[in-house]
């Protein structure tokens, strides 16, 4: 019986063999990261082995303001100088591709924001064993539900929904407790030469860039296991 997708990318699944460690650098405000996450989950669901996943921070656009009053098209046109018609077409294509992965992207509702605090919240969640749950919650909140993931209040609400202590998260966000962890992730990405996301590192040595097809992820998992047992 196939394992539910939401359960396969777990901290460690029940396989008796040593899990393959997969470190994933990604951002919340990254449409390919959510799609890549789904494709990776499908790969793991169909793969017979143990996988341990850890998400790492990557800020795609550090200069993004926390608050932007305007539509997605407005933002891309003003900040990137893109033709609004081209943006409309691109968003439509991206929405279709997301739907193919079972994701309901809603760019009309999307709220642009800086994701630095969200990354700190993800480190808080990791420290409390709920990083996978919060990662999924934040991506869905941003792309599917038009939630504002750049503010402390909203992050606390979303974190509480996955079982985290909202008061503790608020204190840590306001104190910047996990800011060094975010910086360390970004520094590690730089050391690896990671320029874009999503980016997957298997077993600390094999790098996979982008929202690859599930079969590609499975091939890499097979290779890691084969080389470990050689």
């Amino acid at each position: 019986m196939a394992r539910p997708l939401r359960d396969v990318v777990n901290s460690v699944n029940n396989s008796p063999t040593r899990p393959v460690k997969v470190d994933i650098w990604s951002d919340i405000a990254c449409p390919w990261c959510f799609i890549g996450k789904r494709r990776f989950e499908r790969a793991v669901a169909d793969w017979d082995g143990a996988v341990e996943v850890e998400f790492h921070s990557f800020e795609l656009a550090p200069d993004t303001p926390v608050d932007f009053e305007g539509s997605e098209v407005d933002f891309l046109a003003h900040h990137k100088g893109m033709d609004p018609a081209q943006v409309e077409q691109m968003l439509s294509q991206m929405t279709v591709m997301a739907a193919e992965e079972g994701l309901a992207y809603d760019f009309d509702a999307l709220r642009h924001t800086k994701t630095l605090l969200a990354h700190q919240a993800l480190h808080f969640a990791k420290a409390h064993g709920l990083q996978r749950e919060l990662k999924e919650r934040l991506l869905s909140a941003y792309f599917e539900q038009g939630r504002h993931v750049g503010r402390v209040d909203e992050l606390v609400t979303l974190a509480t929904e996955v079982g985290l202590d909202g008061d503790a998260l608020r204190r840590d966000l306001e104190a910047g407790t996990f800011a060094p962890d975010v910086e360390a992730d970004i520094a590690q990405a730089r050391a690896y030469g990671i320029a874009g996301v999503p980016f997957f590192v298997f077993d600390g040595r094999l790098g996979v860039s982008g929202a690859q097809a599930p079969e590609t992820f499975r091939e890499v998992l097979d290779r890691v296991v084969a080389e470990a047992s050689a």
Binding site: W32, C33, M82, Q86, A211, Q212, A213
Partner: protein
């Protein structure tokens, strides 16, 4: 010191770089590559 990674997988997999998220060519033969920023 970080050991260098061996890069594997398809080169053309979609990725977001510097706030720009390229949409791959469509399957109907169109070849345009479009950018999206900061999605």
């Amino acid at each position: 010191m970080t050991d260098p990674l061996e890069i594997v997988g398809a080169d053309e997999a979609p990725v977001c770089v510097d706030g720009v998220c390229a949409v791959p060519p469509t399957t109907d033969g169109a070849t345009e590559e479009q950018g999206s920023g900061d999605l």
